[in-house]
Subunit: 192 residues, 4 copies
Amino acid sequence: MRDLEARDRILAATLKMLGELGYTRLTIGGIAIEAGVGKATIYRSWPNKAALTLDAVRTQLPDIPVDDVGDSRQEVFAVADTLAALYGSPKVRLVLPALVSDAAADPELGRRLREELIQDRKRQSATVLQRAVDRGHMPKDTDISTVLDMWAGLMLFRSLFFDLTFDDRAIRNLVAATLDSPPRVTEGPEAD
Amino acid sequence: MRDLEARDRILAATLKMLGELGYTRLTIGGIAIEAGVGKATIYRSWPNKAALTLDAVRTQLPDIPVDDVGDSRQEVFAVADTLAALYGSPKVRLVLPALVSDAAADPELGRRLREELIQDRKRQSATVLQRAVDRGHMPKDTDISTVLDMWAGLMLFRSLFFDLTFDDRAIRNLVAATLDSPPRVTEGPEAD
Amino acid sequence: MRDLEARDRILAATLKMLGELGYTRLTIGGIAIEAGVGKATIYRSWPNKAALTLDAVRTQLPDIPVDDVGDSRQEVFAVADTLAALYGSPKVRLVLPALVSDAAADPELGRRLREELIQDRKRQSATVLQRAVDRGHMPKDTDISTVLDMWAGLMLFRSLFFDLTFDDRAIRNLVAATLDSPPRVTEGPEAD
Amino acid sequence: MRDLEARDRILAATLKMLGELGYTRLTIGGIAIEAGVGKATIYRSWPNKAALTLDAVRTQLPDIPVDDVGDSRQEVFAVADTLAALYGSPKVRLVLPALVSDAAADPELGRRLREELIQDRKRQSATVLQRAVDRGHMPKDTDISTVLDMWAGLMLFRSLFFDLTFDDRAIRNLVAATLDSPPRVTEGPEAD
DNA sequence: AAGTAAACGAGACGGTACGTCGTGTCTTCCG
DNA sequence: CGGAAGACACGACGTACCGTCTCGTTTACTT
């Protein structure tokens, strides 16, 4: 770990200690020692623990597979698999609630959280679903945003409150049911 | 506020300061002063800020309407309305993520959170949906647990990440869509 | 200990715990439990820990032998022995400094300390020395007050700072030297 | 007071508040505020109130004049004057009993108290008296340790219990009497 | 003998200080 | 001369006692 740049050592130390201690018992001082770095070096790059943790965890998260492989069914399953891995990941379970909580008093953190963690991936997922709609695999009036929020919400909810993650079969059922009869766009309110 | 029992003064002060400061800036010492109480009096009844806040917020949450009013459609809409009020309430948005975060290092808190906040209401909601199934308003193989987690997940997800709560029309759409074609029980894993 | 009056149980518990814990770690609550008594019962009889401890220790202290046994030499030795036992006693070593310290902010305690512990015994001792003067065993202008303060001061000083108490031989030397050539009354300031 | 190092600000604040409040009402938190310092900064240098107060008071105490001025009578008077100033000083009266009391449960404090406050000055005083003996101003078998303990004990005793300090005349009498006929070394036990 | 009041044990209470820990800033000093 | 090391002001933590107070219960006195 000695040869890495300070920034990488800090992020690595953050992830290591996050796993060992959880978010609450994580301390900037502890990370500095673990990374062999002065505290000031950390504060030069991040304003607080939340921002640092956000960056550290972000590096660990899978990207949504958006490539066109010709088969929309296959593409949508891949997206759902990735979302399940994302919202079911131990790191997310440890960190996301804490960041959401801190974001209540830190608008910039809230913005980054929504934009860089959630929206970014939601937009990518949406392109895949839109392609499915375009190809006629889903109804023209499918409410893509609601489909994605419902999937994410269900996965996160079960991960947080029931320690359950989605296995292949559960994902297959969920996606299959949604493809069959997804929520439709109505004149009701629409997210995002 | 002077004549109330200490316990009630503490819970009231907790809710008041929670609204003013948010969870992170909430302090036991501050609550003690606001409630006109010694810190030790708080610690005599609650082991930490999380447990206190859980109790304080719990008193504010609506109960699920489980009464049989003859019309399952109406009953289910009432349940969904209440769930939306629950998961969309400002107090829950402020507190739930923090409690989930703290629960990672506090099993007893986790247990109370799941049991007293989530499961309790999920069980009550399930009785109403089960009645709808029994009456033939929903398919016999409806996966009630998934329906409820999906509703709750969607509501909570939108409340936390998009500051959106569900209005009447959105609830009506969601429930209508679900009653029409709910997720079915399969041989896949089943939550709870 | 059950049948004793509350007051006696309290004093006994105080002495017991004083020996076990020292003055600083002595607590009213602890004494109350040890004595099987409510705290209020203690506060009904004593205003604070210092007053209680003063009373408790006072019961343990030897009285100055003032009886006329015909032989002043013997009487003075007896007085000196008793003073040595008094100022060298472990209880006094534990308690006297603390009481003197507390007395700085508690005039009534100071008064009782001086009057009931110190002056009382000094007066009794003085009668014996005065008798020795009257009998011609000591010079007519002997400064009795200074003799007694010097003895007490020396004994207490060595007890507090050197853990030394006076044995028979040391007392014999001290008294013999003083009888031979005691400090005399001068036009200088005179204590008490 | 702003430009001084933290350590000096703390010691100054301690002395100031000691004078205003006395030892018992002195608090670490209060000193920290007065010194414009965090509590942790105090605890980094001193383990408790007693150790801090000991250091603060120690800086205020006069040193024993040990210089050889040719005239032992004059030297001894100077020593006695200084001892009287030492044991009669208001700070010592406020602090010494409390420190002695705390020392019962804090061996390290006891050691420092005896060594740095008492013994140190006793040793210096002893060199002056020894010089007087060597010069023939006092008998060869003078028990110097007892002379010094007797002086200190008398001064402290009167200071603590009678609010009396020694003025020039009293010191002159005391020293003169001792020089004439001091306590002698015997085969009895000898302090220190 | 029953009724009443005082004294009592138990311990909750408001409050103050404790000693520890983490934050985010600032200084020192080493490589 | 840039960065590690860590001192620093600040403020919250959770604990321990203080001295006051309210509870029931027992005890002893009155009627």
